[in-house]
């Protein structure tokens, strides 16, 4: 009896600890949300506002009298556009190339695999300046394409899909081939549906990564109408120091979609995590 009670107390303590730590971990998000809904005189002066106010959101979307509105909503749209396009492309190419490397055999496959490894581990930072110069030379400076084109492929995605497809028994593919299916049908009707857990993980991670990208987008786009929300927020960090409320609102716009996305897909995410770990 005493042992059982002791165990219950330990468990209770553990859950209290876990919850406290959890709250600590997500407290910045809560702070951001609360401050974005606080009346301006109270922003950053109190932890919990005395009353909720939409002043910051209204200002963010409509602008004040002495300031012209920055295109915050548009920036959010830009982020969504760029992140979605790039991630879809990365997932698709990842699946196609992953399939080719895992299932098919052809001359030069080895070379391509080694090349991909080289690419994956090559320090990207060295390529930053030359890629910028390349984009500029292509006449793409300050365009959406500048944010999208260089990132259409992810070696990590290829790696993940290749790994996964390798684990699928060869019989599955062979059976489909005997049924007369062409490669594309095999890929789209069999392999990709099988790879759902991988797709979920790859998509979630790549999307999140692209969503919060800062450096590249800051370098290649100058026009505020085309900037992503992350970049816009970074550029407004200093100048709008006197208007923290709307900045918090922008932060909420930037952060919460990803949080919601991950929470919605948390089941798939958790089941797929082991896949990442094993890589």
């Amino acid at each position: 009896m005493r042992k059982g009670r002791r165990r219950k107390l330990v468990l209770l303590g553990l859950y209290l600890l876990a919850t406290a730590v959890l709250l600590l971990m997500i407290s910045p998000y809560l702070y951001m949300l609360l401050q974005s809904l606080a009346p301006w005189r109270e922003v950053d002066r109190v932890f919990i506002p005395s009353a909720l106010s939409l002043q910051s959101y209204r200002w963010l979307l409509g602008g004040g009298l002495s300031t012209l509105p920055r295109p915050w909503l548009r920036a959010w749209g830009n982020t969504a556009l760029v992140a979605t396009t790039v991630t879809l492309s990365r997932v698709l190419v990842g699946a196609l190339v992953g399939y080719a490397l895992a299932v098919l055999s052809f001359r030069g496959k080895r070379a391509i695999q080694n090349f991909i490894l080289f690419h994956m581990f090559y320090p990207g930072i060295i390529l930053l300046v030359p890629t910028f110069l390349l984009v500029r030379a292509m006449g793409l400076y300050d365009t959406y394409l500048a944010m999208i084109l260089p990132g259409l492929v992810s070696t990590w995605a290829i790696f993940m899909y290749a790994n996964f497809f390798r684990s699928i028994p060869k019989e599955v593919v062979e059976a489909a081939r005997m049924d007369g299916a062409g490669e594309l049908r095999i890929i789209f009707q069999i392999m990709i549906p099988l790879a759902r857990p991988v797709t979920a993980i790859v998509f979630l991670f790549l999307f999140m990564e692209r969503w919060i990208e800062l450096l590249w987008d800051m370098i290649v786009v100058r026009d505020p109408a085309k900037q992503t929300l992350n970049v816009l927020l970074a550029t407004m960090f200093g100048p709008y120091g006197g208007y923290p409320g709307p900045l918090y609102a922008a932060g909420v716009l930037l952060t919460f979609p990803i949080l919601v996305l991950f929470l919605l897909f948390s089941r798939r995410f958790v089941s797929g995590v082991s896949l990442i770990i094993s890589s």
Binding site: S66, L68, D142, R222, M236, G238
Partner: protein, 425 residues
Amino acid sequence: MRVLKAVFLGLLVLGLGAIAQVEITFWSAPNPSQEVFWRQMAEAYMATHPGVTITISPMPETPTSEAGILAAIAGGVAPTASENVFVGFGSELVKSKAIVPWNTFPEWEELVKARNISSTIKAWEFPDGNYYIIPMYVNAMLVAWRIDILRELGYERPPRTYSEVLALGERLKAKYPDKFLWLRSELEVPTWWQRWFDFFVFYYAASKGKPLITGNAITADDKAAVEVLRFFKTLRDKKLLITEPLAQGFEVGKTVMTVLGPWTFPWWKENYPELVYGKTFVLTPPPVPDWYPAEEPVYTFADAKGVVLYAQATAEQQKAMWDFIRWVLSDPEHDLAWVKVTGMLPARDDVGTNPLFTAYINEKEPALLPYAESITFAVPPIAHPQFVEIQERMGLECIYPVLTGELTPEKGWEAWKAAIKDLLK
């Protein structure tokens, strides 16, 4: 038949008009009121000049407007013209052959006369004899005081010398221990352009306007500079100067002194209507060292910027822009609109004398009077093309170590001079 002819002629005219349409772009400063001004001007101009399309957009302001302009030039997407360029940046642009002179246009002398800038323009001549920048405004920096709080402390007028300021500070802390004299969180950050609004202001006041750098030599008044640094350090030690980030200071009465440019007034009008000139705040030139004679005028720093024309634009675009700028600047009513919209004083010889301006200022913007009076004693920014490093090192090697006590004011000043030796070649 007649209808067809008319339609054909109409289409021809439209077509020709389309071909003859020149498109020019103008970047306004990252200050919303300035953008508003230029948009008004562009709309009015386009209404009477159908052959040209002018697009106004605000220039990027991060990391700095200068870097934004350079980035656009580097990316091949520079505008036809922009404002917000001061002599130092202008010399950097000239060095990279990125801008072209205005005075090579035939109507140059005409404009100088029409806008009444023959005296003002002298300071903007470049070493090669050309004028690459047409000044838009000259903003002398003044110091604002919360006279309402000063009155509570027994002061009828603001302090003039450093000792008087310190005495005020003591009384302030005695009555309001949580208040500060001056909030200047950027003083400890080496951002180059912030020096304009703290060190330069006090230095030019203490040194009677002695230039820091002339050509490639340091011509600063060392005694004055060290005095200013010592003043900052003393203020900070006595907790009168707060150098940490604080959201609101002067506007909410948490501090009683601040360095102010006239562009702040439109923003105050909207967000802090309780700040009324004469009642809540007053303006004075910067405080000076104790040994500064009381009868002599006090100099200050002037943020002075103007319009430049970019080399990347075609000859046709440049001509069209010249015509637009000429039109804007030749009419004093436009400069009056500038005052009304931006709250800043245009760079003209007659700002203090032309009744067009004085009437408006006296009636609607009395706070601008002290600014108008200070223009003669205002020193423009450093003209050296390496201005970024020069001013950055001032913060890094001199101001921060002095404020944190690492270096004495004398040593700090020497440190800065030593640190920029390699730049002045």
